[in-house]
């Protein structure tokens, strides 16, 4: 079936199959409560994977997302702790703006100065992580420092689903529109496919990259607030190493590290897949120590499957079917 050859339906099927498999061993996994938990737990990874996908599509990478998340989360937590009377919307806005600013720094260095993304985000990752310490002086912001509404918001329910899920859903839809139906998004694919040609055609690559990394930072900022609010704690090392999980989600979702290829649905499904594994392990009573190893194995399998199309393509020169007899032509014509 042609549909099965595409990545996204296959991935969706695999996610469902995995859930069912786990459910067979531990039926408690299939209860609505457990599935709802699964959905909620996956939201942050899904959101970060979406913007990381856009970055990777442009042949870039953003290793600084986890540090941006931590710094923005700390900003939000400290703001709420010292000024509990501030409306929550303002605190969330502060987190988003912090993330946006941090992302724009990346975007400027990568887009305008044309520095290599892996090195830039390696640097900013270190700087931002250090800044969390400087900002908080190493102190933790704990649950009792935070106002009640600050902590409650992510898990509060609206029409039966937590805010987290609604936000993630909105993010998926927004990103899908951006990637498929906006010039901004289509330009990113062009830049990732053929950067020289994109410049020639007149696509404003510098601006596009600036705002792509800005967007990545902003979403990381929002996730920063959601993270510290949901887990009710903010300290220097939160989300340490999370950037690799995000990238892994993209790779599993079929986003090519070489750029130009990737879909919103794929990235979201890849994130969902990783979340299922993470949630399934405790339910299956597998020691949590296996999680990292399993994630690693899944990434390797995903990359292998991804790259099957990349094998040194030999050109198809021999005709695949018999050619029709060619017309004859008089030599004296």
């Amino acid at each position: 079936m042609n549909l099965l050859k595409q990545r996204e339906p296959l991935l969706a099927l695999m996610v469902i199959a995995l859930i069912l498999l786990v459910g067979m061993r531990a039926p408690v996994f299939l209860t609505t409560q457990s599935l709802a938990n699964l959905l909620t737990d996956s939201t942050l990874l899904v959101m970060l994977a979406l913007t990381q996908m856009l970055v990777i599509v442009t042949r870039g990478i953003d290793l600084s997302v986890a540090s941006t998340l931590a710094l923005s989360g700390m900003v939000a937590a400290m703001l709420a702790a010292t000024h509990p009377e501030l409306p929550l919307a303002l605190v969330m806005l502060a987190a988003c703006v912090t993330g946006l600013a941090l992302g724009l720094v990346n975007g400027y260095l990568i887009g305008v100065l044309a520095l290599p993304p892996i090195v830039v985000t390696l640097g900013t990752m270190s700087v931002y992580r250090g800044l969390v310490f400087v900002l908080s002086s190493g102190a933790w912001v704990s649950a009792h420092h935070m106002p009640a509404n600050f902590i409650a918001f992510p898990l509060q329910r609206l029409f039966g689903l937590p805010h987290l899920v609604w936000i993630a859903l909105a993010a998926v839809i927004a990103m899908a529109c951006l990637a498929r139906h906006s010039r901004f998004g289509r330009d990113l694919y062009a830049i990732g496919n053929a950067p020289h040609c994109a410049a020639y055609i007149g696509i404003p690559s510098a601006r596009r990259l600036l705002w792509t990394y800005g967007l990545s930072g902003m979403v990381a900022g929002l996730c920063g607030y959601l993270w510290v609010a949901r887990y009710a704690v903010a300290y220097t090392e939160i989300a340490y190493g999370f950037e690799f999980t995000v990238i892994a989600a993209c790779v599993i979702g079929g986003v090519s590290i070489a750029g130009g290829v990737g879909s919103v649905l794929g990235a979201a499904l890849g994130a969902l897949f990783l979340s299922v594994i993470g949630n399934a392990l405790p339910v299956l009573q597998v020691s949590p120590f296996w999680q990292s190893a399993l994630t690693g194995a899944v990434i390797l399998v995903a990359v292998l499957l991804n790259a099957r199309g990349n094998r040194h393509r030999s050109r198809q020169i021999l005709p695949l079917h018999q050619p029709e007899p060619t017309a004859s032509r008089s030599a004296t014509a």
Binding site: I61, G123, S126, F289
Partner: protein, 342 residues
């Protein structure tokens, strides 16, 4: 026609060509000054001057030698990492390899293996981890960044599984002797090992045909292949070498701290890559020197040392490292000019 004899003493007779070609460009001071390594040397000097002026005991030789402990093991891994990056590859999994090697040593020791064998256990584990990386990259033509993102999770995961809740301790004295011991009571052994390997790597990269081929692969892998260079074999070899050096670093580190915990060497991969990039190795491949990497290692080490002396928390080091990396890459772009985006 005879084979090209290397002791070709034919006098450069009638040069049939109407063009004269010099052997090399006339060396000019300008060339020396704009080299990355010169700037790094200046930076290192500046750090020493600043440290010496502001901090008492900064220039105390015993303190300095003590301070080498915080970078010797990392720098050992930076050496093969430089070669990998020159070849346009990267290995994010080195810290995972180190952790797994350390765990393997712990398990071997627990099972009664003699102290002398532990080094080989570590090296062997490192080689195996490196081999897996290299195999996946060369056999299936996968991009090394995603492969090693996968293998670091795999290796660290396996290490955690084997370790569980405990830590391995009570390692034999032999390891402590090498990890934290000194020669002549003063010079740390690990530092000497680092210098020795740095010399070896520099020799191989800059003075042998092996190094020449590595630069060729980094400059243009397709053309290298067309010229008869066994590109895939070199890549596999470099990944295995990186794994082995990570194993060696595991031996020294475990000896120094005396235990194996699940979070051993966390975050090392990024510091090591920073050392290499700061050392002037281009992320695009084909350029860089071991001397530069060593200068970068010493500079970063000196800054860490200075901060420690000034009682500044270690986390500030991450900011310094990040800023150093960003400013040097921006500076390099200014010096070398904006490349066409590719």
């Amino acid at each position: 026609m005879n084979a090209t004899t290397m002791t070709d003493t034919d006098a450069p007779s009638r040069s049939a060509s109407r063009y004269t070609i010099l052997d090399r460009e006339k060396p000019a001071l300008r060339h020396l000054v704009t080299r990355w390594e010169s700037l790094l040397a200046l930076l290192l000097l500046a750090v020493f001057v600043a440290g010496g002026v502001t901090l008492p005991h900064f220039l105390d030789p015993y303190n300095l030698l003590d301070g080498t402990a915080n970078f010797s093991e990392k720098a050992l891994i930076a050496l093969p990492m430089a070669l990998l990056i020159i070849c346009r590859e990267i290995d994010i999994s080195v810290a995972g390899t180190l952790a797994l090697s350390s765990v393997a040593m712990g398990m071997a020791h627990h099972a009664g293996a003699p102290a002398e064998a532990l080094l080989f256990v570590a090296l062997g584990t490192g080689l195996a981890c490196g081999w897996l990386n290299g195999f996946l990259v060369t056999r299936f033509m996968l991009p090394s960044i995603v492969v090693t993102i996968g293998t670091i999770a795999l290796y660290r995961g396996l290490a955690s599984v084997a370790l569980g809740d405990q830590a391995f301790t009570h390692y034999p004295q032999l390891m402590a002797d090498w990890g934290q011991g000194t020669f002549f009571g003063v010079v740390p052994r690990a530092f000497v090992i680092l210098l020795g390997f740095a010399l070896l790597f520099a020799l191989v990269l800059h003075a042998t045909t092996v190094g020449r081929r590595i630069y060729a692969i980094g400059n243009n892998p397709a053309a290298a292949r067309f010229s008869g260079v066994a590109v895939d074999r070199y890549r596999l070899g470099l990944f295995m070498l990186t794994g082995a050096m990570a194993g060696l670093a595991a031996f020294l580190l475990t000896g120094r701290i005396g235990s194996t915990r699940p979070n051993i060497a966390t975050g090392w991969e990024l510091e090591i890559i920073t050392m290499v990039i700061l050392g002037g190795v281009s992320i695009a491949g084909g350029a860089g020197t071991i001397g530069g990497v060593l200068l970068a290692v010493l500079t970063m080490g000196a800054v860490t040392y200075g901060l420690a002396l000034a009682n500044v928390p270690g986390i500030y080091m991450t900011i310094v490292v990040g800023v150093l990396l960003l400013s040097t890459i921006a500076l390099s772009r200014l010096l070398r000019g904006k490349p066409t985006r590719h």
